[in-house]
Structures are given as C-alpha cells and as structure tokens.
Amino acid sequence: MTIQPTHSSRRILLPVRQWFILFSLAAAFFLNLIPLGHAIGVPDWVALTLAFWCVREPLRVGMGTAFVFGVLMDVAAGSVMGQHSLAYLLLAYAAGGLSRRILWFPLVQQALHVLPLLLATQLVMVVTRLVGGADFPGWGYFLGSFSGALLWFPLTFMLLLPQYQPIEKDENRPI
C-alpha cells in the first residue's frame, strides 16, 4: 500500500474516532512520564500530539482538552500548577486557529509551521517560571521543540493510520 500525501484532496480519510484521540493523548502523556532526567532534546509528547489533533480536528480537540492535560502534566512533572496548562492552552488556540492554513501545506511545511508553535509553548513555560523566580534551564531546553517538529512526519502517519484503513477493500475507490 502506498500512502498518498494527506494534504492532497485525492485522499479521502475515514472520520476519526473520539476514543483514538483520547488514547493517543494518554499514550503521549505516558511517554512524558518516563523519567529521563534532564536529557536534552526529548520532545514534549503531549504538546506535540495536542498540536497534531488541534490542527487535524479543531472541532473535537481544543482548549478544554489542552487545559486538562496541562494540569495533569503539572502534577506529573512536579512543576508549578498552571505552567503547562497555560502553555498548552495557547498552543491549542494557535494550532486551532491556524488549522485551515497548516493543512493546506505538504508535511515539510506543516512541520515548519508547528516548530514555532512548540517553541512558543516552551517560551511561555520559561517565562512563567522565570517570573516565579526559578533558574534558567539553559538553551538546550529548546532543542525539544526541534526534535518534536522532526517527529511531525512519523506522527502524522501513525495517528492517521486508523483513518487510512478502508472498511471494505475496493481497488477502484480512492479510500
């Protein structure tokens, strides 16, 4: 099976299932929980998945989901309450607003759109904590956004895979 570009109108996808969105977000949250210390360049999986669904399904995933997962991340990471929720919130708002524009582009340019969004998310967190009197974590902290943007390609394929599967196989149909 060759996977056609998702942005082109030739490809018709099945509708997304709500449970799969929640499952992918929960899986991303679990990945975030894995304690890797302060390893540099580890992407924020929740932010990435959240950005993906906000771009793909702006009507289903939005600021409410972002806020809930932000609070969960705040507790799990032991950071200040409201730090992740505020950052994810702005990410969800921006991604939802840019959704129509981003989907117009091929994947490389989509990733280039997502990169500043992820960077801004991290910047919001840094500013919140610096105002709160914390230490600057160093520039390596921002590398996580770049690796996250690189992961946009595999992520798109993985998260859209259930929507590629046709219910019944028919060679003459584009689905």
Partner: protein, 309 residues
C-alpha cells in the same frame, strides 16, 4: 434565540467563541499559577491528582528501572569484588571512629548531666532510594521511594554517606520529592569549620553552590569545609555540606562571590537517609516593639496576656 422563535440547527452549535474560551481558560491558568506560587493553596489538589497518577508513574518508571537492572546484571564480577574490597577497607577505617564514638557519646551524656544541660536526642533516620530526577527542568529535585506512608514529613533533611543532599519538600503517600541543595531557591544555613563563620548557602547554576552575604574581606579560603550550623531547626548541626572552590573579591561589590561544590553526591543516584525531624527550637524571643502609634501599642499589649498561658 432568533426573532421568529427558531433555534439554529444543532450542527452549527460550537459553544462560545474561541477568543472567549481562551480568555476564560487563561484566567483560570493564571489563577492556578498565582495560587500555587504565592499562596501554596493547591497542595491538596496536587496530592489528589498525584495519588491517581501514581500507578501510571510507576509503570512509566519500569523501563528505566529495567534498563538499570540490566546494566547492573552485566556489571562484571571483578567490579563488584573491587567495590566489596573498598567497602570493607572503608568499614575498617571507620570502625576506629565508630568504636570510639560510642564511648564519647556516653561521656558526653555524663558531662551534660553533670552540667545540667538538656540531653541531645538521637536522630532516627529512614533509608530511602532516589528513583529519578523530577521532570521539571527549572528546579533541581529528585523523587525518593519513601513517602507519607513510611512516616516521611515535609521539611526533613536528606543526607547521603558524605553529606547533606537536600530537603524533603513535598510528600506523596508512596514517594516524596526532595529539593537538592543546588536548587536556586534552596538555602542552607552553614558555618565554616575553620573559624565558625556563619552564613547561608544558596544553589547556583551548574550544580554549584554560592555562599552569600559575606563581606568582601571575610576570612574564607578555597578548600574550607562548610557544615550545617543548625540555626534553622531543620538540619542537624555539623553535617558536611560543601567545600569552597573559588573566592572572588571584587572591590566594586560589598559582598564576596564565593563558589562552593557540594560534598555529597548531589547529581548521583543511590541510597540516601532521610533524617528524622529535629526537636523544635525554643520559641523566638519577640523583638520589643519600637515606639509606634499609640493605638498599635495598645493592641499589642492587649494581645500579650492571651499569648502567655
């Protein structure tokens, strides 16, 4: 509702406008931030969510744990034997001190009795293991595997075999979070062993520590050992904390810039000891109130008899 009494069809319903929703959630987040940073009201909510997340966190820790165990399994026998030998030698060396300490403690107690001083309480400790570094990159904290169920209370000191590591700052039922002394906001009251000079040690960037508020001409030299002064009522007095590495005396500033290095393996993971809470210090003597407005003075006087019994 429109003029003619029709409601819009349900597929146009999208809730409030995005900007309104954003404003609502931003205000909510900012409120959370302020309440947590400024007033620390949210600890109970955090405890609740953390209790729910605990099994997930343990599951997420499993791969890291497995990796560590695999590494330990493949550690060569020779390395273990070497370590064993080293430990035995160390034990013999310290036996000299330990044997004498028992005697000295008895002597100390007798002398204290003679002098009619209060006996020093023995300090109980809980052995714990550092599980992992907390994810938050803005602070230096570790998670240890003993929590409220094991009698750990926030505020207890955490030490390893060579010195002070930090302090328990947040207790969950099954694990707790300790802030390392290298954290920017963590302060440890210390004194110099050589001359008894007292100061406060703060965390600095890069895993180092900074001795603040010492005059530019203070008698501090590189290599000086700093121990806890015990003035805070949290740390036992006399625990080794850090060693002075560099002293910059700049005439432009009234304070010297003194960089220190922690004695304990702050960035290492392993076994630690959570020391029991110290007996509370005697109540502080209240400063005599300076002459103020008469109304305030009267209020203070009225309060005094209530506070005495």
């Amino acid at each position: 509702m429109s003029v003619v009494g029709h409601q819009p069809p349900p597929f146009f319903k999208r809730g409030p406008a995005p900007l309104a929703r954003l404003a609502f959630f931003v205000v909510l987040s900012l409120a959370l931030l302020v309440f947590d940073l400024k007033y620390r009201y949210l600890e109970l909510a955090r405890q609740g969510v953390a209790a729910v997340l605990y099994p997930l966190q343990r599951a997420a820790y499993a791969p890291v744990d497995l990796y560590g165990q695999l590494g330990g399994y493949f550690t060569s026998l020779a390395a273990v034997q070497r370590e064993n030998e080293q430990l035995k030698r160390k034990e013999l060396e310290s036996a000299n001190w330990l044997l004498r300490q028992q005697h000295l403690e008895q002597e100390n107690q007798r002398l204290r009795e003679l002098l009619d001083m209060r006996a020093k309480q023995p300090v109980p400790g809980t052995l714990a293991e550092i599980l992992y570094t907390a994810r938050d990159p803005f602070s230096r904290r570790v998670v240890v595997d003993k929590g409220g169920q094991h009698g750990v209370v926030a505020g207890q000191a955490v030490v390893d075999e060579s010195g002070v590591l930090g302090q328990v700052t947040r207790v969950f039922p099954m694990q707790s979070e300790a802030t390392l002394i290298t954290d920017k906001n963590q302060a440890v009251p210390v004194k110099l062993v050589r001359n008894g000079l007292r100061s406060v040690l703060f965390g600095a960037s890069g895993g180092q520590l900074e001795l603040r508020f010492l005059a530019a001409n203070a008698d501090v030299q590189p290599g000086d050992l700093l121990v806890t002064s015990g003035l805070d009522g949290i740390y036992q007095p006399g625990l080794p904390v850090a060693k002075v590495v560099r002293v910059d005396r700049d005439a432009a500033y009234s304070f010297a810039r003194i960089l220190c290095e922690p004695v304990a393996g702050v960035e290492r993971h392993g076994q630690v000891l959570i020391l029991g809470a110290r007996e509370p210090l005697p109540p502080q003597i209240e400063e005599t109130e300076p002459r103020d407005k008469p109304s305030k003075g009267r209020k203070a006087k009225r309060k005094e008899p209530a506070a005495q019994p």
